[in-house]
């Protein structure tokens, strides 16, 4: 290696902050003494700046995130043998249901604005996958003060988890679901043997309060402040409405 090569190498490592304190001292002494070396250091700095700019210029396709999430969603390993089949059947039912709904009603069956339908499907899918897993939550806790902070750093929303145990809806935990390509919090409650998933997403416009039955599940939706809540369960309609009313009354703020 020639002297020039080695000098450039050391100069690069100096600029990268990778020299030992002793080497830094020696390099700074040389830089003070040699104008030619200072020029080279300056050009190296310029090259780094130009490189950073050029390397970061590659545009990332907007569809990448959606593609990755879609692929991962269908790559979930089956928790138990024999279960995958039923999940696929479920997914197929879901798709048929969607296609049917679109064909028949053209939006009349569900009162969703176009962007709501994928949310609804994602929320339901998250709930069903939760049921399919050994447990429907990532963190197990009956304490809302444990579940709420657990979401910090995992999702951009950390929702209040009201204690409804006395009313017969104990909190059992929380999990992260993916809706519209974004990780969102889901609170998990129980009513006897039934699981209730409450997925919380940022409100987009004024989503109406409504109720829908799909594939044996009831989906309640309501908006409070800047958040939209989707509650999904196979509970009977009466209990489901009661749960939604209780939840709303406990998270509601004046005004």
């Amino acid at each position: 290696m020639s002297g020039d090569d080695e000098t450039l190498l050391l100069l690069g490592a100096y600029a990268d902050g990778e020299l030992s304190p002793g080497e830094v001292l020696a390099m700074e002494r040389r830089l003070a003494a040699e104008p030619g070396l200072r020029d080279t250091a300056e050009r190296l700095r310029g090259l780094s700046g130009a490189l950073r700019e050029t390397l970061a210029q590659i545009p990332v396709p907007e569809t990448l995130r959606g593609h990755v999430i879609g692929r991962i969603g269908f790559a979930d390993p089956a928790p138990r043998r024999g279960w995958l089949g039923s999940w696929q059947a479920l997914a197929a039912t879901l798709l048929v249901g969607l296609a049917g709904g679109a064909a028949i009603g053209g939006g009349a069956v569900y009162q969703d604005r176009p962007e709501d339908a994928p949310h609804r499907t994602a929320v339901l899918a998250g709930h069903l996958r939760g049921l399919a897993a050994p447990q429907p939550f990532d963190i197990a806790s009956a304490d809302g003060h444990v579940v709420k902070p657990w979401f910090n750093g995992r999702t951009t929303i950390a929702p209040d988890a009201p204690d409804l145990a006395e009313q017969g809806f104990p909190l059992v935990g929380g999990r992260v679901d993916i809706v519209a390509g974004t990780p969102v919090p889901t609170l998990v409650y129980r009513r006897d043997r039934h699981v209730i998933s409450v997925t919380v997403v940022p409100a987009s416009g004024s989503a109406p309060t409504d109720e829908e039955h799909r594939d044996g599940s009831t989906i309640e939706r309501w908006t409070q402040g800047d958040l939209t809540y989707w509650a999904v369960s196979d509970l009977n309609t009466r209990d489901m409405r009661r749960f939604a009313d209780l939840f709303r009354s406990r998270t509601g703020r004046p005004g």
């Binding site: 020639s2 020039d4 090569d5 000098t7 450039l8 190498l9 690069g12 490592a13 990268d16 990778e18 104008p35 030619g36 070396l37 020029d39 080279t40 300056e42 050009r43 190296l44 310029g46 090259l47 780094s48 700046g49 130009a50 490189l51 950073r52 700019e53 050029t54 390397l55 970061a56 210029q57 590659i58 990332v60 396709p61 990448l64 995130r65 593609h67 990755v68 999430i69 692929r71 991962i72 790559a75 979930d76 390993p77 928790p79 996958r129 939760g130 399919a132 897993a133 050994p134 447990q135 429907p136 939550f137 990532d138 750093g153 995992r154 999990r175 992260v176 993916i178 990780p183």
Partner: protein, 191 residues
């Protein structure tokens, strides 16, 4: 190939794996994609590499304990990119270290330590020349290119680059030095 073996024996609930994936991988898609792009040289192949890398990351996510999630994910992207290159551009991998000829000719035509005649800023690449710089990066052998990208774009330390690319720190340092020397020489020559 991290992760492929663990795919057959999932040990934790898939919900947990998905949560960890959202937390560890999703925030790093952009930087992963740019690494894949600089490795393969075009958007279509970069997306393919990313799809496969994310699947590997997801399958191997139980195996990632604690530590540098960024280096872990970039390693998977890098290895997936290399597998892709081996399949589609075997020559690129075989001649990965072949910078000697260019570097030598650069030295013969003046060398980069010759005092620049103009102000240092004038020797720098103006914004208009970004296309030229991008082509010069593309033309680097892959081993030099990835080291340069991991340092200048991802800002990894020499030690982290050594882990991601599986070479000693000394090799990282010399690859960086030679890549920079080559680019400087090229840009001075073409001015």
């Amino acid at each position: 190939m991290t992760g492929l073996t663990s795919a057959a024996t999932p040990t934790a609930p898939s919900t947990l794996a998905r949560a960890r994936f959202s937390q560890l991988v999703l925030p790093r898609l952009d930087e992963g994609y740019r690494l894949a792009h600089w490795l393969t040289g075009n958007p279509t192949d970069a997306e393919d590499v990313m799809q496969e890398a994310c699947l590997r990351a997801y399958r191997g996510i139980e195996g990632f304990a604690e530590g540098n999630a960024r280096a872990w994910f970039l390693t998977i992207v890098r290895n997936t990119g290399y597998s892709w290159l081996q399949r589609h551009r075997p020559r690129a991998v075989i001649f990965a270290e072949d910078l000697a000829a260019e570097a030598r000719s650069a030295l013969e035509t003046g060398g980069v330590l010759t005092p620049a005649p103009e102000t240092p800023e004038a020797a720098l690449i103006a914004r208009d020349d970004a296309g030229q710089l991008a082509r010069a990066i593309d033309a680097l052998p892959v081993a030099f290119r990835e080291t340069l990208v991991l340092r200048e774009y991802h800002g990894l330390s020499y030690r982290e680059i050594a882990e991601v690319t599986g070479v000693p720190i000394g090799t990282v340092m010399s690859r960086l030095g030679r890549a920079r020397q080559h680019l400087l020489a090229l840009l001075v020559k073409d001015r």
